[in-house]
Amino acid sequence: MNSLPYNLEASPHFLDFEFSSTGPKGEVRKIVRFTKMKIADASIEVYNIGFGDYNKLEDKIDDLVVTDNKDSDKVMASVAAAVMTFTDHRPETLVFAQGSTAVRTRYYNMVIAYHYKDIKSSFDVWGHYQGEWEVFKQNKAYTAILAKRK
């Protein structure tokens, strides 16, 4: 990532990560959570990565809000740092990512594509395209992403 990540705090089991985005809209607390899933016939553990803003007023997490804190590169670098740390501790797992909307998923595709040269040195990445998984290609619009540490 070109941007340096924010400082992150991790739970002792490295399943929950938190950091604060700061910008024109003030300070926004971001939560990243890795949730183990039950996948039929899987020969490997699979975790979903969830990511959202903590809404202090309503005491809930939201991923549909557009924060617009002018720090999206730094936020994505922070999420990448969470993935890196999580997979440091659980290298033999698959991490599944899918945006909450098609636009978000497209954005994640673009971020991975832009940084793919760096990412592929540490991760195998697959994209789901027209009903099939394939090795990630930078020019495809995938509906979901899976990654595993090399």
Partner: protein, 55 residues
């Protein structure tokens, strides 16, 4: 109390910015993350995994 988990010296190593903190609570039962994981689970149970990761 926070514990540094990495002492990497490379200045652009993202992991040096991560510390363990008991203040970070588990969101395992948070409805937001539970529903996200259920949707992801449904997707993968429908579409499967890449070759080599299925029994």
């Amino acid at each position: 109390m926070s514990i540094a988990i990495s002492q990497k010296t490379k200045s652009n190593d993202s992991r040096k910015t991560v510390v363990v903190s008991k203040k970070v609570k588990s969101h395992a039962k948070d409805p937001f993350f539970v529903s996200k994981a259920k949707a992801a689970e449904a997707f993968l149970n429908k579409h499967g995994l890449p070759a080599g990761f299925e029994k």
